[in-house]
């Protein structure tokens, strides 16, 4: 089901789901967004296993964010502990909890929405649905494909420096000579790629698209559901009396 949603719509969904989480700083709104996404993910076709593995990095990041919030967050209310720059107060604990939940509420939908997106499909969507200039979108897509070649280059550069006995010292200087060589390769490959693209008629304004990228009712439903989740999160927080909009 998720596969029927256009990559550009997914971009919009990620934004819609993030807004209520970014503008607020309380635990209820983030919890509502996170739990809704967690509940909907299997329904729209993500295997439980995928959801589980995607949550792992969040489990590692969230405590870090929460702890730093608890220790260094803006103090307020009763102070429980104070030492040097560290102040643990009622407010910083509340913010820590909110930060912890926010990592999940922002992370889960974003990761799930984009892990299954193919770069080519995304480019098709950006050009055909979002109407971004084809020159820019396809140029970027073709360029990104070359990153793998640069990794190979980088490894050869490292090997060559070790082989010449230059690998033992002067790390920073060595890094610069490698970065320079890589840049030369990048420019050269880039211009050859541009020549190949130009020879195949790339560069004119109008073109046809071999792969249609369209939006339909699944996209509309997804947008509607995302708005509903966002609204539900804000209303729930307001009802629970925890609503805490940033800046207030």
């Amino acid at each position: 089901m998720i596969n029927r949603i256009n990559p550009v719509t997914r971009l919009l969904l990620a934004i819609l789901l993030s807004i209520p989480v970014i503008i607020t700083l309380d635990w209820v709104s983030a919890t509502v967004v996170f739990l809704s996404c967690l509940a909907l993910a299997p329904v729209v076709g993500f295997p439980l296993r995928t959801i589980g593995t995607r949550l792992i990095p969040l489990l590692l990041v969230a405590p870090l964010g929460a702890i730093s919030m608890a220790l260094y967050g803006k103090p307020g209310g009763e102070v429980h502990f104070h030492w040097f720059l560290i102040t643990i107060s009622d407010q910083s604990v509340r913010m820590a909890l909110a930060a912890f939940l926010r990592v999940f509420a922002l992370g889960l939908p974003t990761i799930l929405l984009f892990t299954t997106v193919d770069p080519t499909d995304m480019a098709d969507g950006l050009a055909q649905v979002a109407k971004l200039p084809a020159r820019f979108v396809l140029g970027t897509l073709a360029g990104v494909r070359m990153v793998g070649l640069f990794l190979d280059d980088w490894r050869s550069l490292e090997h060559a420096r070790r082989a010449r006995g230059l690998g033992d010292t002067g790390r920073l200087r060595r890094w610069f000579t490698m970065a320079f060589a890589l840049m030369v390769f990048a420019v050269r490959r880039g211009s050859r790629l541009a020549t190949a693209m130009e020879a195949r008629g790339f560069g004119g304004n109008e073109r046809t698209w071999a792969r249609p990228s369209t939006v339909g009712w699944p996209d509309a439903i997804a947008v509607g559901v995302s708005i509903a989740i966002g609204a539900a999160a804000l209303i729930a927080a307001w009802q629970a009396g925890t609503l805490w909009v940033i800046g207030s």
Binding site: G148, S156, A163, D168, A210
Partner: protein, 491 residues
Amino acid sequence: MAISAEGWGWRHASRTRWAVRDLTFEIADGERVLLLGASGSGKSTLLHAMAGVIAGDEGEQAGRLLVDGKHPTRCIGRMGLVQQDPESSVVLERVGDDVAFGCENLRVPREEIWPRVRHALAEVGLGVELNRPTSALSGGQKQRLALAGAIAMRADILLLDEPTANLDPVGIAEVTGAVERLVADRSRTLVVVEHRVDTWIDLVDRVIVLGSDGGLLADGPARETIERHRHTLVDAGIWVPGEPLPDLQLPATEATPAILTGENLTIGRTREHIVQHDLNPQLREGGSTVLTGPNGAGKSTLALTLAGLLAPLDGTISAAEHLRPPARQGWRWRHVRAEDPSTWPGRDLTTRIGTVFQEPEHQFVATTVREELEAGPRALGWDAARTASRIEPLMETLRLTGLARANPFTLSGGEKRRLSVATVLATGPQVIFLDEPTFGQDRSTWIELVQLIATLVTQGATVLSVTHDQAYQRALGQHHWHLTPSGLEVG
């Protein structure tokens, strides 16, 4: 008339010298032309201009160059261009999408694109699924993919710029076979640039030779023209068929002991990228060994592993006693083991085992040729006098003295190759590994390089070269290792 040039010339905006000038010729529909010339004679520039990818604001034009009576930039899609480097002609991530790319740009309706794509892939003999990742294709397949992209656009003029220079023999046969089928019924015109004449001689009707200082040196029926201008072509670095290569005097090799021995080696970049298991190579001291085999079998990985640049994933490598560095303080905690080159500090490695990389520029670290040669000795802590006494004769022998102040990145292909070999020799290693040293080199550079290696071997060095080049194998294959997916055969 497919292509006509009348006193045509081109000067790149950043140069004062004309890349090509005074060209006058006509190429008829269905004609097959081999375009020859010394390096720097502007073959690629001419081909790019015919392909319509050189725009007016990139330089200055003289005379006229027309395709079907029109400026080439106005008939994009009629010409298909295939460049030397297979990597930089692939545009998209999936095979089908890549072939469709040109059609989309030419505004071919969608329902017509996919039949064209399938047809084009069949014509070049690339029977892979449309959603196969382009990164999984071999070099020969990538070049045929580029051809298919042109065929799908209905290009009827094929412009090939050394399309086989970076390929192994299997890839070369794939590409020439595909081109042969494409031009078989004379419905397409072919212009191919290539300095290895024998790759294309059976397929072309005509040879056009560009002069080094502009104009045409020769133009006529293929074999006749090559015969008539044989000496000029050889002097220009072109591989003319039947021209004998110099006879090398290599010392006779007896059964010498091994200088590097691998036991039960598992090799690969990482555990996830294992390319070979259970290899037991023994590199004999002195003499020249060539390592051949199909792409992807792990030739370069094996060479890098024996050269101490990649640690074996399993098994052991041991250097002969006299090659091992003397023990130094601090080795134990840095896990240095005297027998295993992959654990040696760089300064111990570079004076014992040297490696010449396929891409000379991967080795360059300095802004002048002289500094480039001094970098290795300086890292070893040699004083100025010792460094000079080492690199001066090297520059002399490798004809780099005149280039001492030039930037290594601005040298010609042959000069870069000589410098990359010189940087390795500067630190005086006893064992030298070379990875595809002759890829894309013209005949003159090739001969110089092969003679240099023969000299090194005569002086007692041990040389192992990874190569696809059959002439190189004949010249320097005293020992022959053949690596295939099923293992290492020693001949």
